[in-house]
């Protein structure tokens, strides 16, 4: 039953409302069986993209190919894909069983077969006893599991999910993320998933597209996006980042460079990517910074030292976050795993931040 998922290819997909560009011409290929997420701030075009694939928003231009066939002119009810909505969208006038049976009845499946497939599906989402309930008698998490079952019971090869966990509280959301992973593994369908939650996207996805202003800013695996962000927006959107505008980059030995930031800091970085052009930004992840007693340590080819003063200290479960103002006036976030043996620093204390050149990334500003 685990049919392989469909391939999705968007070619120059564009959506404009008058002069407003909701989606700039976009190309994207999603592999069969892939779990692919679209993330970005609201208005970035991710829901427009999903709505076009579902068939609700006719694109202004471009092609949407499912398994190589253009479906732009195919109405939503003939695209044979499954969709899960943030608002669950279960039919309140039908029982759970009838909700899941709905797409099968439309397809004129025999009643014995319907019963078998609905029951199997309710078992997959671990709600086997609740077929006779009304949707309103279920919790939010249970309702969304019914919606998953309903969207997948007719074996669509592509599942669209529009912020399916957005209405759930944090703990339930994490539990449901696990459910959706299991669900994806069991079914093998391609999943196109929209969320504004970067952690959720990273937890679930094979690949992620980060969107901004109607364009895809970068596509990659969660680790690739975090470790090699293509620009300042991606670096700041996925996780936290200390970003410094770059004034000058000089060669520093054969495979390293010395960065001078606009506010006058000197940072050592690994060799610059030859394709970088225009305005550049130095990016250091908060956990890549070490914090130590104030002291003049010599700048080396592979290590930068940034003097500063502790502005604020925040303890959360397992993590210490130091907000440090550098001598040049820039704000810097340092994130450490809380460990008893580590020295502690107080607000107002002068410190030195250290970072290796491998963790000082030179990236495009735009």
């Amino acid at each position: 039953m685990a049919s392989r998922g469909a391939s999705v290819a968007l070619k120059g997909l564009t959506k404009r409302y008058g002069t407003v560009v909701a989606l700039a011409p976009t190309d994207l290929v999603v592999e069969p069986g892939e779990f692919f997420s679209l993330i970005g701030p609201s208005g970035s075009g991710k829901s427009t993209l999903l709505g076009s694939v579902a068939g609700f928003l006719p694109p202004t231009a471009g092609r949407i190919e499912l398994d190589g066939k253009d479906v732009v002119s195919v109405p939503p009810y003939q695209r044979n894909l499954g969709m899960v909505f943030q608002s669950y969208s279960l039919f309140p006038h039908m029982s759970v069983f009838e909700n899941v049976a709905f797409p099968l009845r439309l397809r004129k499946v025999g009643s014995g077969e319907i019963k078998r497939r609905v029951e199997r599906m309710l078992e997959i989402v671990r709600l086997p006893q609740l077929g006779s309930r009304r949707p309103e008698q279920l919790s939010g998490g249970q309702q969304q599991r019914v919606a998953l079952a309903r969207a997948a019971v007719y074996d669509p090869r592509l599942l669209l999910m529009d912020e399916p966990l957005g209405a759930l509280d944090k703990n339930l959301r994490e539990e449901m993320q696990y459910e959706i992973r299991q669900f994806h593994r069991t079914l093998g369908a391609t999943i196109l998933y929209v969320t504004h939650d970067q952690d959720e996207a990273a937890t679930l996805s094979d690949r992620i597209a980060i969107m901004k202003d109607g364009r895809i800013a970068q596509v990659g695996g969660p680790r690739e996006l975090y470790e090699k962000p293509g620009n300042a927006f991606v670096a700041g959107f996925l996780g936290e980042a200390n970003l410094f505008d770059v004034a000058d980059v000089k060669a520093n030995g054969s495979d390293r460079v010395l960065i001078t930031t606009r506010d006058g800091l000197q940072l050592a970085s690994d060799r610059r990517d030859a394709s970088l052009a225009g305005s550049l930004v130095a990016c250091i992840r908060p956990e890549a910074l070490a914090i130590q007693q104030e002291g003049a340590a010599p700048q080396t080819q592979c290590k930068s030292y940034i003097p500063g003063r502790v502005q604020d200290v925040v303890y959360t479960a397992g993590t210490v976050r130091y907000h440090v103002t550098t001598v040049t006036g820039a704000r810097c976030l340092v994130k450490l795993t809380s460990q008893r043996h580590l020295p502690q620093f107080d607000v107002g204390q002068a410190v030195t931040l250290a970072c290796s050149s491998a963790d000082t990334l030179l990236i495009q500003k735009e």
């Binding site: 579902a54 939503p76 309140p92």
Partner: protein, 270 residues
Amino acid sequence: MLRLLPLVRPVIAAFVGVVLIYLVLPTFVVLPLSFSAQEYLSFPPQGFSIKWYQRLAANPTWLDATLNSLMIGIPTALLSMVLGTLGALAVVRGSLVRASLLSALLVAPMMLPHVILAIGLYPVMLELGLLRSHIAAILAHTVIGIPLVFLTVTASLRSYSGSLERAAMTLGANLWQTFWKVTLPMILPGVMVGGILAFASSFDELMLSLFMTGATTRTLPRLMWEQMSDFLTPVIAAAASLVFAFSLVMLGMAALLQKRSSTAGGGAHG
């Protein structure tokens, strides 16, 4: 604020009571009048008698008028339900550029004086040869029935997200199937309430009936109006009391439907 002045609450309660009496009492006056033993309509009534109800039953004119009212009211309700629902679907779920303008036009007949509508329709119906027919009254009453259905169905459609219909479509339901299997079950209470209101407004309507109906098609309100000017006996009060009871039943049905739909709709957004 109210706690500061212990007298304020009873004063407000008394005021509300007086307003309610003012609103409801004139309607209830008709009941004792219909059981009056006097030969003419006067207040306060004297004695007790059910002879006016007997007279009402014995006179076929009243039965004819009742039948006319039903023959006009029921088609009016059905026509209003179809057209009002279509209008609400277009305004709420459609992607119209001028949806709010259309919405205003649809409810306009409710605000405009019926006499203007009547004067406008009169020569048109005359020209079409429909004057004094049931059809003329049905068409005229449907104009004021559509806004009532439009408003109740609009409220029903706004009570749940359009993603319900989008979900049905991704699951394989075409537009027709989506309407019958998802939209209609969701808005049915609203359609029914609107239909009852449209029927009730037709059943109660005098101005348009005066212009549109004739001797063989006159409705209950028109007959009452004529009797008021000619005879002024408590028969009118008896007829009015029956209409009142009938209207109360319909009002009760509408209220029940509305209550049921509000509890059923509660789970839609969980």
